[in-house]
């Protein structure tokens, strides 16, 4: 399993775009928002938690279709299916690799971009915490969606349609934690629920993903 993780990370680094593209997209979305809503610091500061969360969600979405599509096209996925690795393990590793290449960089970059949106100083800690807790769930749910659409020629749009509704709880708890942090309220509840969702998705979705992959390889 470690071999697969190492290979996926190496591929992400070499092929370029793995790390950079999602991050650049994140930056652009965050920069575009003030052009859309106006430059008032107070307004930006109020909507910053939501913008940062929605933008990181979209950035994570951007690279989902690459999770399985490339391996499907070059035949690796079939070879992995006949290898001793359980498909559940493959799903878990794919989600982890996706998180390391998108979720983690997004989490690290978010505070810098929070500065651009004049996020309340109290909220930075919770922004970091909520993204750290929540982005793994985004990757795991996205991996499930990618597995559902892996055999389809134009699966990208469908993938977004399937995955975005599943992102609702994560987004709500994540953005709520930051907002409460910014308002000086106690965000522990939201953070715990966010952690719960991540733990739940990592416990259950690998099985659904593996089942879906087997069906798609038939």
């Amino acid at each position: 399993m470690i071999a697969l993780l190492r290979r996926d990370l190496r591929l992400a680094v070499r092929a370029g775009g793995g790390f950079g593209l999602g991050l650049a997209f994140f930056l652009i979305v965050v920069v575009l928002v003030p052009f859309g809503v106006g430059p008032e610091t107070e307004l930006l500061s109020r909507i910053a938690p939501g913008i940062l969360w929605v933008a990181s969600l979209l950035a994570a979405l951007l690279s989902l279709d690459r999770i399985f599509a490339l391996d499907f096209e070059d035949g690796s996925l079939v070879l992995l299916a006949t290898s001793p690795l359980p498909m559940e393990g493959v799903a878990l590793i794919k989600a982890t690799a996706h998180w390391i290449t998108t979720g983690l960089p997004l989490t690290i970059a978010a505070p810098v971009l929070g500065f651009l949106l004049s996020l309340a100083p109290e909220a930075y800690l919770y922004l970091l915490l909520s993204l750290l807790l929540g982005t793994p769930a985004l990757s795991m749910i996205g991996t499930f969606g990618a597995a559902l659409t892996v055999g389809l020629r134009r699966g990208g749009l469908l993938l977004s349609l399937l995955v975005l509704p599943l992102y609702v709880p994560t987004l709500i708890f994540g953005a709520e934690a930051v907002r409460r942090g910014a308002d000086g309220l106690d965000p522990t509840g939201a953070l715990m629920l966010l952690g719960g969702i991540t733990a739940g998705t990592f416990a259950l979705l690998p099985f659904a993903t593996a089942a879906v992959l087997r069906i798609n390889l038939r």
């Binding site: 071999a3 290979r7 070059d74 035949g75 070879l79 992995l80 006949t82 390889l217 038939r218």
Partner: protein, 212 residues
């Protein structure tokens, strides 16, 4: 080593081959013959466990099957060595980068890849990719091989190398193989013509049978 009894397999929900039975003992190869579309690929995929059979049984030692088709699973951004090492790792075979470097070397030279070892997969020609894909079979340590047209885009010299490897390395060490191919590999191997097993038009067991 491989025993197939009364196997019926389907493509797109319709039975294509029915009641296929054969055995392949250790150290032997079975060549599948038959016209295009007869169901060779379907049969091999079913044998490898990639798709469920409609009926019948396939028996071989667990975790010993390997499948190879025209898609070699080669990553364009990884070097030849890295590609091979990855598959060896996944299969838990001896890590070719540490202790038994010799194993990887042998495989590389067997398939004439030694000079290409640091080239990335993307720069290989079709035939070189094919050789790398076949070399994968040499590092994963599986005994029962299901090969779908393994010699496509190989030149005559490489075909011979592959046949030599199969005979001298794989079969000699107790492996076996089922190969679908249209050319003569130069192996003394029994052939199985699939034409008589073609499923009848009214054969039962299709996934939409209930609707007829």
């Amino acid at each position: 080593m491989l025993r197939v009894t009364g196997l019926t397999c389907a493509r797109g929900g319709l039975p294509v081959l029915s009641n296929v039975s054969f055995t392949v003992p250790a150290g032997e190869v079975l060549i599948l013959r038959g016209a295009n579309g007869i169901g060779k690929t379907t049969l091999l995929r079913t044998l490898a466990g990639l798709q469920p059979s409609l009926d019948g049984a396939v028996e071989y030692p667990e975790d010993e099957g390997a499948y190879a088709s025209h898609a070699d699973g080669i990553k364009a951004a990884l070097t030849v060595t890295e590609n091979l090492a990855f598959w060896a790792d996944v299969h838990g075979a001896a890590n070719p980068r540490s202790d038994s470097n010799a194993g990887l070397e042998t495989v590389l030279s067997t398939f004439d890849l030694s000079d290409l070892r640091d080239r990335t997969g993307g720069t290989l020609s079709a035939g070189q990719k094919r050789r790398l894909g076949l070399a994968r079979l040499g590092v994963i340590g599986r005994k029962v091989l299901f090969l779908d047209e393994p010699t496509v885009s190989l030149d005559g010299f490489s075909v011979k190398r592959f046949a030599d490897w199969l005979r001298d390395q794989h079969l000699a060490h107790g492996g076996c193989a089922v190969i679908a191919t249209h050319i003569d590999l130069g192996l003394a191997a029994p052939e199985l013509d699939l034409t008589p097993f073609k499923a009848a038009l009214d054969a039962g067991g299709g996934s939409d049978e209930a609707f007829l």
